[in-house]
Symmetry: C2
Subunit: 226 residues, 2 copies
Amino acid sequence: MDSARPRPLAEANPFPETIDPRLRRQLTFLIEADRLKTVLRQSPLAAADRRENDAEHSWHLALMALVLAEYADEEIDLGRVIALVVVHDLVEIHAGDTPIYDAVMAADQQERETAAAELLFGLLPADQAAAVRALWDEFEAEQTPEARFAKAMDRLEPLLLNWMARGGTWRTQGVTADDSRARKAVIANASASLWRAGKELIDESERRGWSRPGRPAAPPPGRPSR
Amino acid sequence: MDSARPRPLAEANPFPETIDPRLRRQLTFLIEADRLKTVLRQSPLAAADRRENDAEHSWHLALMALVLAEYADEEIDLGRVIALVVVHDLVEIHAGDTPIYDAVMAADQQERETAAAELLFGLLPADQAAAVRALWDEFEAEQTPEARFAKAMDRLEPLLLNWMARGGTWRTQGVTADDSRARKAVIANASASLWRAGKELIDESERRGWSRPGRPAAPPPGRPSR
């Protein structure tokens, strides 16, 4: 497995040894993190005709948390919410983005992402590797008010982009408005009012024909169903 | 002036009126912020052969603050530092990026950015417009430990990218290593050790010929100097 380990970007041009070794490890990690800018998501931007990347997405979640914090149903430490969203997608540098509606990729998502976390966070000094890993684990587990709110931002942002695109990833093969409602319902764990708004966007998109109808389409007439 | 006011992106597809007006204003602002993903900076990415955009850059600063906070010479509220870097470039949506070495653009930078701030933050409910404006003002004024550290991240990040590019924007017409030292010295206001490392990168780049020599080049021989 070690032979397949991707070479850190900074190895192509190592930082001078006159820089303290701890700081050199941190800079090596921060340069490796640059790769997040190249991991493409499915979501279309509202401001340009291209897909969003993970770094832009993470920034957008941070800004959303700042503006929408007042809707949290529980007391939250906003600084911590923002820290969670800043690191939440880092593992995708080596594991890739797993689209929310992709059941095949979802099957081994956890395994891929855990391996990727060890690889990437392992570039940091051990104490910080553990600290960043703890932030990622907290986000994934959704057991704290901050993680629930961070996750709500992560679900709401592509919903807003899909609204602006009059469909976007809702046009993915086989996805229905009911699927969207099911995947987005975690927003309600953090904020009843944001989920009310999110559901309104899904409902209205369905009414306007921007997403497929609620239930999976019936098989074409004349073809026996199995 | 009002006729030149750019039309908010969300007006092309307004949010349903069933959503609370305050939240609708916030969502309209958050969609407008999507434009930050299209504002290009001069810095080359380390991970791909293209220039960085402001949204990616802002995310990278947030991650850097998280990893490098231990080097702050003053006590800092990390959550506030991250909030500052998340909003610090928003005004460039309407004012554009002003390259650090561009004296012509720098001349009216403040005026352009203040007008842009009013335009963009004005999409928010008044209380939040004031709060986000206050964050931006705090960053610009560099009068708090958090703003000084945020500004240090903003200066250090392109320095790291230039190092990885073996020159990058240091190859801009007329820029010398002394210019870099002068523009980057504000890092020292937040962290002596980060500035020591930053200066080491500039010095070593000069030694390796990745940036122009310290002082402006002498005129070619035989040509009278003025």
